[in-house]
């Protein structure tokens, strides 16, 4: 180990099963099981219960944003941000074209906060439609230099400059490599 870890024995929390399957279904899906609807489609088109051609829009909600972030790996441990409770579903807010994410460092002097924040930003930059404006902040009262970090994370130029640093980008890519697990172990 080349460097002393900031926090070498962090608390691990049990992962919460995503509540996404509890999202209320709309229209026919609220009443019928999935299999019934897919059977319908096969026979469909013959006018009896033809599946509605218009697709109902499922809007991006905080749950979906959380899903994008939960499995990002912590830079110090092979553990997801979800298990460390660095990101929490309650701390993500979506309204219109704005997304606001609060992150909670595991300890108040964590030097990794900026790096974690940067990983979150890159992930959302790549995974959310461009129409969204994303704000990433340290949860108030959980870090010594909250303001400095917030400033750094939400300054476009600084983020851009950071991403031009090959080494830093490599570390971020490393953290993101597990992001597609989306809560699956």
């Amino acid at each position: 180990m080349s460097r002393q870890l900031d926090n070498d024995n962090p608390t691990i929390f049990a992962s919460k099963v995503s509540t996404s399957n509890r999202r209320l279904q709309k229209g026919k899906a609220s009443l019928w099981a999935e299999e019934a609807l897919s059977d319908d489609e096969q026979v469909g088109g013959e006018g009896y219960y033809s599946s509605a051609s218009g697709e109902e829009r499922e809007d991006i909600d905080s749950e979906e944003v959380y899903d994008l972030l939960r499995s990002i790996t912590d830079p110090e441990h092979p553990v997801s941000l979800e298990a460390l409770r660095v990101v929490n579903p309650e701390d993500i807010h979506v309204a219109g074209n704005r997304v606001l994410v609060y992150l909670t460092p595991t300890i108040p002097h964590c030097s990794m906060s900026t790096l974690i924040g940067l990983s979150l930003r890159v992930r959302l930059l790549r995974a959310l439609p461009p129409r969204y404006r994303v704000d990433i902040r340290i949860k108030s009262g959980t870090h010594q230099s909250e303001h400095a970090v917030n400033k750094q994370l939400n300054d476009k130029e600084r983020v851009q400059a950071a991403l031009e640093n090959k080494h830093l980008l490599g570390v971020v890519e490393g953290c993101l490599s597990s992001a597609d697990k989306r809560g699956a172990a």
Binding site: N9, P10, T11, I12, F13, A14, K16, V17, N21, R22, L24, G27, S30, L31, W32, A33, E35, A36, D39, D40, V43, G45, E46, G47, Y48, Y49, E55, E56, R57, E58, I60, E64, L68, H77, P78, V79, R126, A127, L128, P129, P130, R131, E173, L176, A179, D180, R182
Partner: protein, 1045 residues
């Protein structure tokens, strides 16, 4: 036989294998070996190296080929001495070794000779100067001597061991090492090596740890793991190694990482039991430090697992029996773990739990002691935690230990048992208390369930009352459903209990679950109630697969369905309350569907698991369900619409029936089809319903003038016929007449597509299974369908479409059997594709109709022969390609549609074989307007990309077309108003795109990366969540594409 002449010709033509007739002559005694040696004389003693080598090789090859019994004692001795004299001859060594190896295996080869040969070898052969193959021959000879004359070599004492270790010192080739390691092990185990152990240590431990990496395409196929395993067996062969090996291990702890660390831990695990308690105890503390570090701090689970097995070996070596006092090291280990557990929520606590579990698994005495130290502390912590959030990890530790106990006590191969060790007895009440508390408390249920499941499986631990107690707790969790994510755990636990104690589940769980199922459906807006009954049903679906519980399920579900069907006027006062989007009838249909689907799910699982009790339930299930459907379908007074007229319910019952009928024997099938035939053709329902009184006087549902709801029952008829086996006797005399009548009904009587679909299934299945009975008339029927219904352009288009569907279904049924009629009939369909200008409405439909053929065998019970798909594909494809070439303009489109519709028929491997012809067609199909046809094309492309690796030609084709593919896929992936699309099409296009970064080399697409990333940005805003998910993953892959890793 002229031996000298034969020998001479062979040697001079450098043909060094003896001819077969020479070998035969030796074997039947016509020629003596001595004669051959004489004939070879001049060559064997020649001063020319080259000639001598040829002579020797010929002699050795002859020895290898002849029957060993023909080599007598005299010859053995002479030949041995002769070969021995050649050992110092550099060039002659390989054939000499070969000859000696043959001789050494003979019964005429005695111990003295063995010793002599061995001595000759070590004195004359300088290993370092020979190449690998020759050294290998030496080792093979050693191996042979050791196998046949071990005692003689043993008697040599230290002289043997001294010379052996010198001989093999410095060997580096993995092929030779594999052999050497096995020889080493034999010597270490059998010989007295105590005094020379240092020499052996030098020639074995010098290889540790092995870092060998086989070259790519290694023809010898020796892997690093083979070598590691062989070396590990050597190292764990002698307890005398301990003195030198343990310090070496300790030293390696600080330097090794990754796979070598894993190797070290596994080697320790193998060695410690051999080295014995005395030696190990001396260094035990230090070993513990090294092992512990890898368990507590390692991020690699493979190393952690290896370290845990090393720890088990350590404990097992130190405390092997029940009687050992668990003092000393174990005490220290356990104490350390308990200290870590004082902070139960930290990541190290999980590791400490694993250590304690390993200690339990390894030793009865130390394990019992570990539990006696751990459980009281954990109970104390659980009952008065320093933080409330600590209780979950504490309970999880308790449960993990219980799982470890269970794995030891319930394993059939284990010598240990609860009744004998009684390790858990002092903590029985404590365990039960914390687990029950856990079941009641939110957040603690998951670990508690894990513990309960373990305890139930420990033989002789819990009484029936204890299990009942726990089952009640589990039931509560299930019914109240406060944490849906742990429901699967509860079900798994209850299923485990039901295999051990089915009566408890039957008397406690099932009644409770059924009691919580409503008698009629909750209203459309009541989502919670609906979620609840769905969750109960899915629990039942898992539990009731058990034969002991299935009976209850059948009775309860059919009763619920009866109730639903009799509450017929409930729809009338539905207007008063707020109903949401659907009326009560629709809700009840959905509920009935869910009930039936549960029953079907259980039946399918039972079929998969080959339960034999299903046939018994046929009479309890099918006639009852049919009664509901038939009484609903018959004409009613007024405009009443009974529940069970719904087609979704009819379809589901038909499918369920097909599955169950298939499980009956032909005799019972025959009875059933006779009754069904009476019902559908004659209108006599007696044989197929459970309660005749509920059925009014109805006619045959297939008669002219039957109501639409009666006609819907065709699905039941079809389901029955589909479930029949080929050898079941049928109730009618002329299959051809029967088929014709069904064809007529399908084309002219059926009211809509749903009914046609049912009838088509019936026709297809009938033709497929009764082809032998139909044989002569089949061609006539097929021809008349074609000429009367399809070709006649004056007929209604709908009739022609139906005619075509019938036609293609018959072709499909025949093509599954690879019958010639299928292909000749299909030719007509291919022919009309060229008429798209003349018959613009019908021909595109015919092209899309190839999709019927692509369904193949499907999930049903059709009979098929091997390679039917390949044969059909190879027949149709060239014709489509030719047609496509001849056609022009829009006319080509129909061929493309036919091609794309047929694609799902064949596996990707078939496309790969002929990729250069097929790929252009697939690429063109990617831009077809119909989303389903695009899906077919993309699906094939996905499997092509997934399997395309080795062939150069394929590689060239897909790299050459990569840009075109990406272009078309992007068009399918991005939602546009101009192109008809579906969520499935977009999502599969995206998942196909995400394959490119793995399959296509970056050079071929580097210009495209930025375009793709930009275009994929649009897909992130897709209205469907599932499509967005694919889009995110796909885009993430393209971002990484080409980045140096």
């Amino acid at each position: 036989m002229d031996v000298p002449r034969v020998v001479r010709t062979h040697i001079s033509s450098s043909e060094l294998d003896p001819p077969q007739d020479l070998v035969d002559a030796v074997n039947n005694g016509h020629v003596g070996l001595l004669e051959i040696v004489k004939a070879l004389g001049e060559y064997l003693t020649s001063t020319e190296d080259d000639v001598r080598l040829k002579g020797l090789t010929f002699l050795s090859n002859t020895l290898k080929a002849v029957n060993p019994a023909k080599i007598n004692r005299q010859a053995t001795q002479t030949l041995t001495n002769f070969y021995l004299s050649k050992l110092d001859d550099f060039d002659s060594l390989p054939p000499a070794l070969g000859g000696l190896t043959v001789l050494s295996k003979l019964s005429t080869f005695d111990d003295d000779a063995a010793v002599e040969v061995y001595k000759g070898l070590v004195e004359n052969v300088n290993m370092k100067s020979y190449m690998q193959a020759t050294r290998h021959l030496v080792y093979v000879l050693f191996d042979s001597l050791l196998a046949t004359h071990r005692n003689a070599l043993k008697a040599m004492g230290t002289a043997f061991i001294n010379s052996y270790t010198k001989m093999v010192d410095g060997e580096k080739d993995p092929r030779n090492l594999m052999l050497l390691f096995s020889i080493d092990r034999v010597i270490l185990l059998e010989f007295d090596v105590k005094d020379r152990i240092e020499d052996f240590f030098d020639i074995t431990f010098c290889y540790f740890p092995i870092t060998f990496r086989p070259p790519p395409n290694d023809p010898y196929g020796i892997t690093a793991d083979d070598l590691k395993l062989a070396l590990r067996n050597c190292m764990a062969s002698s307890s005398h190694f301990a003195r030198m090996a343990l310090p070496l291990f300790l030293e390696k702890f600080s330097t090794l990482t990754g796979p070598s660390m894993k190797d070290l831990q596994l080697t320790i695990a193998a060695c410690l039991p051999v080295y014995g308690p005395e030696a190990v105890r001396e260094r035990g503390g230090e070993l513990w430090e090294g092992i512990k570090t890898e368990i507590l701090y390692s991020s690699d689970t493979a190393i952690e697992a290896a370290a845990l097995s090393a720890l088990e070996a350590l404990i097992r070596t130190l405390y092997p029996t029940n009687q050992d006092a668990p003092s000393g090291l174990a005490q220290d280990f356990i104490k350390e773990c308990l200290e870590i557990l004082n902070e139960p929520e930290k990541s190290q606590a999980v590791a400490a739990t694993k250590i304690l579990a390993a200690i339990f698994r390894a030793s009865p005495s130390a394990g019992k002691f570990a539990l006696s130290q751990t459980f009281p502390q954990l109970f104390r912590q659980f009952n008065s935690p320093s933080l409330p959030s600590h209780r979950a990890p504490i309970l999880s530790t308790i449960s993990s230990l219980l799982v470890a106990v269970q794995s030891v006590y319930s394993s059939p191969s284990s010598q240990r048992s609860q009744s004998q060790e009684k390790a858990l007895d002092p903590y029985r009440d404590g365990i039960l208390d914390v687990l029950r508390e856990g079941l009641r408390t939110s957040g603690l249920r998951e670990p508690s369930i894990k513990g309960c499941t373990a305890c139930v499986q420990i033989p002789g631990f819990w009484s029936k009352e204890d299990v009942e107690d726990v089952v009640r707790g589990l039931d509560d969790v299930l019914v109240n459903d406060s944490e849906p994510e742990i429901r699967p755990e509860v079900i798994r636990s209850l299923t485990t209990i039901s295999t051990l104690q089915p009566t408890i589940i039957e008397s406690l769980t099932l009644p409770l679950l059924f009691h919580n199922l409503p008698d009629s459906a909750p209203s459309a807006s009541d989502h919670t109630a609906r979620e609840k009954y769905r969750s109960i049903l899915s629990s039942l679906e898992e539990l009731c697969v058990q034969p002991a519980l299935f009976q209850t399920l059948v009775i309860r579900i059919t009763t619920k369905l009866d109730l639903l069907s009799s509450s017929r006027n409930s729809g009338a006062h539905g207007g008063e309350e707020e109903m949401g989007e659907f009326d009560l009838r629709e809700c009840n249909i959905a509920y009935a569907w869910d009930l039936l689907h549960t029953l079907q799910g259980v039946i399918e699982k039972k079929i998969q698991e080959k339960h034999t009790d299903l046939a018994r339930y046929f009479d309890q299930i099918i006639p009852r369900l049919w009664t509901l459907l038939i009484s609903a379908a018959l004409p009613k007074i007024g405009d009443e619409k009974p529940l069970f007229r719904d087609r979704r319910l009819i379809g589901l019952v038909a499918k369920l029936g097909e599955g169950l009928i298939w499980e009956l024997n032909p005799e019972r099938q025959g009875k059933w089809i006779t009754a069904v035939y009476q019902a559908f053709e004659k209108g006599d329902w007696t044989g197929v319903v459970h309660d005749r009184s509920q059925i009014g006087s109805g006619g045959s549902p297939l008669r002219n003038g039957a109501s639409s709801s009666e006609q819907d029952l065709i699905a039941l008829y079809a389901g029955t016929v589909q479930g029949l086996k080929g050898d079941t006797s049928l109730p009618f005399t002329s299959a051809a007449e029967f088929l014709s009548s069904k064809v007529h009904w399908t084309i002219n009587v059926a009211r809509d597509g749903w009914q046609v679909k049912g009838a088509l299934d019936l026709i297809c299945s009938l033709v497929n299974k009764r082809e032998t009975e139909l044989k002569d008339s089949l061609e006539t029927i097929v021809d008349s369908v074609w000429s009367v219904e399809i070709q006649d352009t004056s007929k209604d288009v709908e009739i022609r479409h139906r005619g075509l569907s019938v036609y293609l279904n018959i072709v499909k049924a025949l093509s599954l059997l690879r019958l010639p009629l299928a292909y000749s009939a299909l030719e007509k369909v291919i022919d009309i594709l060229s008429l798209s200008n003349l018959d613009p409405e019908f021909v595109p439909h015919a092209a899309a109709g190839f999709g019927i053929l692509a369904q193949g065998k499907g999930k049903g019970h059709l009979t098929s022969k091997l390679l039917y798909a390949q044969k059909l594909w190879n027949y149709v494809l060239p014709k489509l390609i030719d047609g496509d070439k001849e056609a022009s303009g829009k006319g080509r489109l129909v061929y493309l549609v036919a091609f794309a519709s047929l694609l799902p028929l064949v596996p990707a491997s078939l496309c790969l074989a002929d990729l250069n012809t097929i790929l252009p067609l697939i690429l063109r199909s990617l831009s077809l307007p119909d989303p389903q046809q695009r899906i077919n094309a993309i699906t094939t492309l996905v499997s092509i990309l997934e399997t395309a690796t080795d062939s150069k030609e394929v590689d060239k084709a897909i790299h050459g077309n990569a840009e075109v593919m990406v272009d078309s896929l992007l068009k399918s992936a991005v939602r546009q108003d101009s192109l008809p699309t579906s969520g499935k099409a977009r999502s599969i296009a995206l998942s196909c795109l995400s394959l490119f970064p793995d399959v296509i080399r970056f050079e071929s697409l580097h210009n495209y990366k930025s375009i793709v990333v930009r275009e994929l940005g649009k897909t992130l805003d897709d209205p469907l969540r599932n499509v967005r998910k694919e889009a995110v993953e796909c885009r993430a892959k393209w971002y990484k594409y080409g980045n140096a890793t």
